[in-house]
């Protein structure tokens, strides 16, 4: 069992992407107490945007722009059509509802684009290796590590240094009290949903570059793993959710590289066994100090 530089870089970049998705899920959970199972389908929609842009022969920047437009529009639609009417419901109802939305979007993708999928060739060059001191590392690995770091730093700035961020943190801590103190619910929720949409679009670009074969179940497995990571880290704080996402992405990258080929198909088994074990020891989250207020389903 040896870990190569390529594996390490891949694991880091997967951790970075998962951290972005995790914080996207975590932010919305913070203000709405809603676990968005349909997050992966937003990413999938963005990936289709890139794939079709490249089929139509658009330059890659235009494809990325289209991806952002599609994902943000869908996120807003989701907020309006599903999140808002369900805002007062229990977390269980909301989770099941987003579960339904996820399958809805997936079947729309099957109907519209077919089962087989489309290739996003415009972002292909990112998959070429770079030669760094004799070590081959895929460009996308480096790019996604950098992008994830920049996004997370910006987000941290936003949350800690702006009034919108302050409102969001206050709402995540105690929504009712925050509202009583004059925070506008729709604005805070809208802001959180918007940011989570931006992060979904960024993740879509990165994941498409890693795996240009875009199918209706694109990012589905990733979302499941990220959800596990988010819960593992602790949902109630963006930082712990991010760390959870990073940890599970990194762990799955390292495991995937380290397992012998004849056992690599059992990766989910190892991963989820680890998740269950950690949850048994720290049900409120690995990275939450003290007894974080656990929500109840």
């Amino acid at each position: 069992m040896s870990v190569s530089w390529q594996t390490l870089a891949d694991a880091l970049s997967l951790g970075g992407i998962y951290a972005l998705m995790a914080v996207g899920i975590g932010l919305v959970f913070g203000v709405l107490r809603l676990v968005n199972f349909a997050y992966g389908q937003l990413v999938m929609a963005g990936a289709y945007a890139i794939a079709y842009a490249s089929v139509w022969g658009w330059p890659s920047w235009a494809g990325i722009l289209l991806c952002f437009a599609v994902v943000l529009a869908l996120t807003m639609l989701l907020d309006r059509a599903v999140f808002r009417p369900l805002r007062t419901q229990s977390p269980a109802v909301m989770l099941v509802a987003t579960f339904a939305v996820a399958f809805l979007m997936q079947s729309i993708a099957i109907l519209a684009f077919g089962q087989l999928g489309t290739i996003a060739s415009s972002v292909g060059p990112l998959n070429q290796p770079w030669d760094i001191g004799g070590v081959q590392i895929r460009k996308i690995a480096i790019v996604s590590i950098v992008v994830a770091a920049v996004c997370l730093a910006l987000l941290q700035l936003l949350l800690l240094r702006t009034s919108v961020g302050l409102h969001m943190r206050a709402a995540a801590m105690d929504f009712r009290t925050a509202r009583m103190l004059g925070i506008r619910a729709n604005r805070v929720i809208g802001g959180a949903v918007l940011i989570s949409g931006v992060l979904a679009a960024v993740s879509a670009v990165m994941l498409t570059a890693r795996n240009p074969q875009v199918t209706p179940i694109f990012a589905l497995d990733d979302t499941i793993v990220v959800l596990a990571g988010v819960v593992l880290g602790g949902l109630t704080r963006p930082v712990s959710a991010t760390l959870g996402g990073f940890t599970i992405g990194f762990a799955s990258g390292i495991l995937g590289g380290a397992l012998p080929t004849n056992q690599s198909q059992y990766l989910p088994t190892f991963l989820f066994a680890a998740v269950i074990l950690v949850l048994l020891v720290r049900p409120n989250g690995l990275f939450l100090r003290g007894g974080g207020a656990a929500e109840r389903l």
């Binding site: 369900l86 109802v93 809805l104 079947s107 109907l111 059992y266 989910p268 269950i276």
Partner: protein, 331 residues
């Protein structure tokens, strides 16, 4: 009398479905069979989710285990090598009859759910949801790739197709009766109390952990039984016992109303009927002289849309989480 009505209404629905399934053509009958087996799964889900209020994404794992148990034990000995080339020696010569295989499927579900629940039922909320999801992932992953114990990615073919309309109906009825008996029992009531108010229930001396564990084990047994019925109905692949089935059965429970046994059965029948019809139409179907041919994905689309609509408009489901009552009908 009134209590018996709570049992009679869902049981009557199951029997009516079975009788209807008897009179239609044999091509249509498959859908009735499929729906009845789905009802059994939903009732199994209901025993845990409905009574405890805790979400479980893991029940399809117990169904899969039931499928595996009943399947691997009933493939005729002569054909085991052809279907499952990697099968371990112990399983190669183990063979039981139809009823025994169903009982063993239920037993497997019971034992596995109990073993899994022993640690997991300490969790609640999202942690419980994700952990049960993890169980589904692991069971699916192992059954899919570990070909020493089963057919792996291939279908469970050559299993005797003994699940006719009667066997399916009796299986579904057993699930309904067990669910009813459980929810009427001391344990069921205690669990329902923990659903309504965990703090008050524990203060009254109810162990939330024990009650949840019991319900989890009972519903695991029913899910295992449903899996046994499933594999005896058609050659089934492990891939079809994963997210799609989880989604479908959860949708059934939610659309019907997760708070009552009647809701579980109604949801199972409504969504089961809709899903079978649309799935059939995806392959082309002749209906009253019309030829209907829908594109792949329509069934999931319709079920997903219906589920989202019901959740938004009527979050407690079609039945509103209540059992059948004459008084309500009169009013």
């Amino acid at each position: 009398m009134r209590r018996l009505l709570d049992l009679a209404a869902p049981a009557a629905l199951v029997v009516a479905t079975a009788l209807l399934g008897l009179v239609v053509s044999s091509a249509l009958q498959t859908y009735f069979l499929d729906t009845l087996v789905k009802v059994a799964i939903v009732v199994a889900l209901y025993v845990f989710i409905g009574n405890s209020g805790v979400l479980s994404f893991g029940h399809v794992a117990f169904v899969a285990l039931g499928v595996w148990t009943a399947g691997v034990l009933t493939v005729p000995e002569g054909q085991k090598n052809a279907i499952m080339p990697g099968l371990a020696h112990v399983l190669l010569h183990a063979n039981v009859g139809n009823v025994q295989s169903l009982a063993l499927a239920a037993l497997a579900g019971l034992v596995f759910a109990f073993a899994v629940g022993l640690p997991l039922m300490r969790l609640s909320g999202l942690a419980a949801g994700i952990a049960t999801f993890g169980v589904l992932e692991i069971v699916n992953n192992v059954l899919r790739y570990y070909d020493k114990i089963g057919p792996g990615l291939n279908a469970f073919s050559s299993v005797p197709e003994t699940t006719g309309i009667w066997q399916a109906a009796i299986g579904a009825l057993i699930c309904v009766v067990v669910a009813f008996a459980y929810q009427r029992s001391r344990f069921g009531r205690q669990l329902r109390a923990t659903r309504e108010d965990p703090a008050a229930a524990s203060a009254a001396g109810i162990s939330i952990y024990r009650q949840r564990l019991l319900a989890f084990a009972v519903s695991g047994a029913l899910a295992g039984l449903a899996g046994g019925l499933y594999v005896h109905m058609l050659p089934i692949e492990i891939d079809s016992l994963y997210l799609d089935l989880t989604f479908l059965t959860l949708a059934m429970l939610v659309v019907g109303g997760s708070g009552s046994l009647l809701g579980a059965v109604v949801g199972g029948l409504v969504i089961g009927g809709l899903d079978s019809f649309l799935s059939a139409a995806e392959n082309g179907v002749d209906l009253l002289g019309w030829h209907l041919d829908l594109p792949t994905g329509t069934a999931v689309l319709a079920v997903g849309a219906l589920m989202a609509l019901v959740l938004i408009a009527r979050p407690s489901g079609l039945t509103g989480g209540r059992e059948f009552s004459i008084g309500r009908v009169r009013r």
